[in-house]
Amino acid sequence: MSTERQTQLVSTQSSIGSRATVAIIGLGLVVFAVSWLALFQWIGGETDVLGVGLFRLLGVCLLFIGVGTGACGFAARSGRIAATPRRSAGLLTGVLFGLLGFLVGGLSGAQTFGLGTAGWLVSAAGIGTAAATAAVFPREELGSTIPPSVFVTFVGAVITAGIIDAGWTWTPVDLSVTLIGPVVVPLLTIVASLIGVWSAAKAHSGFGARGRQSGAFLLISLSILGMLSVLVLLVGFIVVRGLDTVLTDAGVGIGSITVLNIQIPWVDVQIPFLMNVTQGLFVDVNGILPAIVGTLWLVIGAVVFAVPLGIGAAIFLTEYSESERFTQLVEIATNGLWSTPSIVFGLFGLTFLLPRISNNHRSLLGGQLVLGFMLLPLVVITSYEAIKAVPDEFRDASAALGVTRWQTIRSVVLPAAMPGIITGIILGVGRIAGETAPLLFVFPRSTFPSSVPNVLGSFEFSLAPPFVTNEALLSGGSALPYQLYASITSGHVPGQTFTVEQFGWGTAFVLLIVVLALYGIGITTRLYFQRKLQHE
């Protein structure tokens, strides 16, 4: 009696079924990866692989996958593959396949068979309902293999037969875009391979709870892969486009160079794009040094302004504020400030700050303050969370030793919260370093500056108030994101060396490097504080 109810602990899935599903998954993943390469046109659709065009080969692979998953379903149904299926593949699966069926039915009805509105609606609804029914009503091993199998086989057949190929185009009525084969085919194969792989993964683990887990795991792993590839793609694209510009006329030699009035002996590194001003009489390679220095000064100023203020506010909210309601109010206000559009900050800077600090002239100080305002809410929010996360046990222990609240904050709470606080600052700096909109009104002096802001050298001391003045802080300049925006919108760059595009990509590349370098500094600082907490 009891043995009948017992389920097997050790899976005795037939090795043929297991190998088949693994093969299908592997094939599907290859199709998936190659399709992405084809989508970005790193591999042409007509590339000759094994005697056939790439797209056709992908179609054939999809045919294999489609037929294979269907076969797995029937094999599981007839007991040839060990499986513990549920009663149904589930409502969500049904809805998704219903929508997919609706799309396929509608598009093929309207486009391939040229049916009218009524016709394609009927075809769409019919195929959609059929797909949903096929997914929901049969037991899981059929419900989650047959609809995918039909879809993947259909896509495979359409591509193999060349109905949609690299030369295919379609301009939908009422739409000003033309869909072209080299984009549509990879997109189709990506979707089809995903669905096929999902189905095969479920079959591999014998459906049921384990099957769902496998299917979900596969999709989730692919999404992290997708995320990483977006990152790599973006960075790679900028590097490839920008590197040439940056390295124009660059060279390394022995000698000495002068950067920002500081003489560095022995090495003679020349990277004109990084070391020259953007426009000038004797400048043959236009550089972006003013913008680099401008961005750095902006970030430094914003951090100096916002970080002490933000951390102070966060300490008050977590350690001193007695009123829950007040804390909530400040939190809401801070979140509101964080979501305020950046151009509004710029407008505020223009109409409120500039008349008061720099006599209505655009200025570095104005830019620093505006960016500081933008950075402030993020510093408050992240510091607040980080300080709140410090265990109360530390505060209790310190109070029980007779140590005052402020001493506790300084020597226990803040060090423990430091890594979190710094993470917030890193995120914020990354954002403000790349901001263009808030700077437009308050900072730029000329589109192509011919001099570098010399902040440190411009301090002048006097015996009469205000005792110290700094002309560089009160005059405008250029920043990397603004430089990019300005050169693209103005449509020309000075000099003959670069085209607008080259100059733009070079600037983008340098901006990326500067932001990454700021990240690097931040992460190193965070690691330092973390290590201090853990090892000391």
Binding site: P391, D396, L401, V403, S411, P415
Partner: protein, 303 residues
């Protein structure tokens, strides 16, 4: 106090009790045992202590005197107010915004619930060790020296070193002395600069005791100091408590009745509702309790 004296007093108080118990209600009894007399100096005297958290009353009219240089155990079921009582003795309840304390607590005859009490000084004299070990995420050395450094008793900072005021030897002495007192020196003497969070739970708790001792308190409050530890670590902490009682007044809250019986000189039993039901010599409480409710609790019929 010699053993004979001790027995004598206990015998007397037992006799007294048997004569008064007959026909009396518990309320009347309460006045009898709260007048429990011990030999030795009163260190802390609590009278009519009420504590409210918002509208909930956590302690009801608790009065008791705690003798110096002994171990006083507070036992009782969860939620009976024993931890609340402990936290009243160094005013840690001030840190809970909803808490309200009424009544009087005197330390060496001086009221600690009055205006103008210096909490820093109070907590330097009344140290506390918590239920879960809570060392700071700093080195062992910094943990021990934390209190004295913050109080300015020891300064090894850069400025002090420049001015020649630094006293690193004194700090070294203090660290060694505190760790020895807490029976931890042998185990950590070679890694004082390692992070304290790398120690085992029992070592961490002894470090917390050492950190408390470094401030040179007169009273040490312990809130279930061994409840998060394994039996071996627990027995080390218990030995430590007994040896600390020679120099310090120790008040310890515990769930564990055997522990209270093993380590304490006198025991106070709190029962649900925040009342102190009985307070007497530990032997009396465990062998011949006065109140039926205490006997039920101790024999495990309830709580």
């Amino acid at each position: 106090m010699s053993d004979i004296d001790m027995k004598q007093t206990r015998a007397e108080s037992n006799e007294q009790r048997t004569t008064t118990t007959v026909g009396e209600t518990e309320e009347e009894l309460q006045s009898e045992w709260s007048a429990y007399e011990f030999d030795g100096q009163t260190k802390i005297s609590v009278s009519d202590l009420d504590v409210y958290y918002g509208s909930d009353q956590a302690l009801r009219g608790v009065s008791m005197d705690i003798p110096e240089k002994s171990v006083t155990a507070l036992i009782g079921p969860s939620g009976c107010g024993k931890s609340t009582f402990l936290r009243c003795l160094n005013r840690m309840n001030d840190r809970v915004s909803s808490a309200r304390v009424e009544g009087s607590v005197t330390l060496d005859g001086e009221e600690i619930y009055q205006d103008g009490v210096n909490l820093v000084e109070l907590r330097k004299r009344v140290g506390m060790v918590f239920q879960a070990p809570n060392p700071f995420p700093k080195s062992i050395r910094d943990n021990i020296a934390y209190g004295p450094r913050k109080h300015g008793d020891i300064d090894t900072g850069l400025l002090a070193r420049l001015l020649g005021d630094a006293n690193p030897e004194e700090e070294e002495d203090l660290i060694q002395r505190s760790l020895r007192q807490a029976a931890l020196w042998e185990e950590v003497s070679d890694r004082l600069d390692d992070n304290a969070l790398g120690l085992s739970g029992g070592q961490q708790q002894r470090l917390c005791i050492a950190r408390c001792l470094a401030v040179d308190p007169e009273i040490i409050l312990m809130d279930e100091p061994a409840s998060a530890l394994d039996p071996i670590a627990t027995s080390k902490i218990e030995d430590l408590i007994e040896s600390l009682a020679q120099e310090y007044t120790v008040v310890v809250v515990t769930h564990n009745m055997q522990q209270a019986a093993r380590i304490s000189d006198q025991t106070a039993v709190f029962l649900t509702g925040g009342e102190l039901v009985e307070y007497d010599d530990t032997d009396t409480i465990f062998e011949d309790p006065n109140s039926q409710r205490v006997e039920d609790y101790i024999t495990g019929k309830f709580g």
